[in-house]
Symmetry: none
Subunit: 208 residues, 2 copies
DNA sequence: GAACCTATTGTACCGATGGGCAGAACGACG
DNA sequence: CGTCGTTCTGCCCATCGGTACAATAGGTTC
């Protein structure tokens, strides 16, 4: 496993050498033939078509880390979209670079804290909606319920109370509870709150 | 910061002990009281309601890593959806586990390569849309709330109970109720159910 | 300083919720 | 015919959720 630093001028930063004394320097104009599967390619964003290069390298089986002077979330996401495994500041300390290498070569990713929290908190929502269109999650969710349970589940998803559901379906409130208990168990949620969240996550693509 | 391995049988794998000699073993049936804020909770998917446990632990401020025998993207996604910071194979080597711990305790996430490309490429488009449009999904709604009320509202939107919110914000359950009453009045909803629906409605109508 | 907002917590009440235990009716399957 | 799954219901009980009626304390505004 080798380290390659791909730059526009072929100049290696001192701290790069410090972190990886064996690393090679590659000019952006050069081809990527010297980079093999499993190698780590460090690529700076000074290169005009760096996103393309990232994709190309990732395709070849290289582990790509993008080095950027800016801490731009959009840029980072673009990098990851192209298949990069890491996104680090160009001026990162040698110890950090070693840490990054350790992580990315072991199936991890490396990105800034701010970006990660965004990805985890916000974008997963959208991603789940994307997956919801497939018959993988949404259909099996309601599909594993009986007809009556499904009716109750949908009523709950609208925010109805047990009493309201009972009236709507013309059954006793106790029966609604019974159905709900079955639903909770089947869908592995603890209460109607979680059920709403679970359902709305998978239904928003169809109701919206 | 402690490491806790939560399993169905209480049996710790040898490599777990190797990676974290100080780690404790917790039975799935047991409560999570021994796990504190900042601790790392390693949770196996053998546990029936592991998604729920993940959410619960994450809510408590623990750093959750899901251990699974299968490398299932959907499962991993579910894990992260519930607030897990890592998703790693149950049979991962001790060195890998240590790396995972290092990453997740530093605000990083850990997941398999295949999933990451999916997640990040999806997130990229989601973030891009979001940044192009309004700054926040339900900004107008949350904007009329105080900082504390907003925190409570967001916790409710995740499906948290009053007790969980109290733990999370380190305040009394009674105080949570007080904030909730204020929220209900301001947003003109009758209960947390409607609040969730109102917040999620606002989110989907904007992205659609 | 008074008025006001915010955050915090208390006691108490009551309806809503979830589950345990139990039973009955019905259709399907073997 | 017996078993199983589904639907429906009863009673009881523990907990949760929301609110009314308070109080204390730290800020800001006028």
């Amino acid at each position: 496993m080798k380290h390659h630093f791909i730059t526009t001028d072929g100049n290696m930063k001192a701290r790069w050498m410090e972190a990886f004394p064996e690393a090679s320097s590659i000019l952006a104009e050069q081809g990527s033939d010297a980079i093999g599967t499993g190698d780590v390619a460090w690529l700076v964003t000074m290169i005009d078509d760096w996103p393309l290069r990232v994709g190309e390298l990732a395709q070849r089986g290289a582990t790509v880390v993008v080095l950027s002077y800016s801490a731009d979330d959009q840029e980072a996401l673009l990098a990851f979209e192209q298949g990069a495994r890491g996104y680090v500041h160009t001026l990162a300390a040698p110890e950090v670079l070693e840490q990054v290498a350790l992580v990315v070569t072991n199936q991890g990713i490396w990105a800034g804290q701010a970006l990660l929290s965004k990805v985890l908190s916000g974008s997963f929502q959208a991603l789940r909606q994307r997956h919801a269109g497939e018959p993988s999650l949404s259909a099996p969710l309601l599909g594993q319920l009986t007809e009556r349970e499904r009716a109750v589940a949908l009523a709950v998803a609208r925010g109805a109370s047990n009493k309201e559901i009972a009236r709507q379906l013309d059954i006793g409130e106790r029966t609604v509870k019974a159905h709900l208990s079955a639903i909770f168990k089947k869908l592995a949620v603890r209460d109607r709150l979680q059920l709403i969240l679970k359902l709305s996550d998978n239904a928003s693509s169809r109701t919206a």
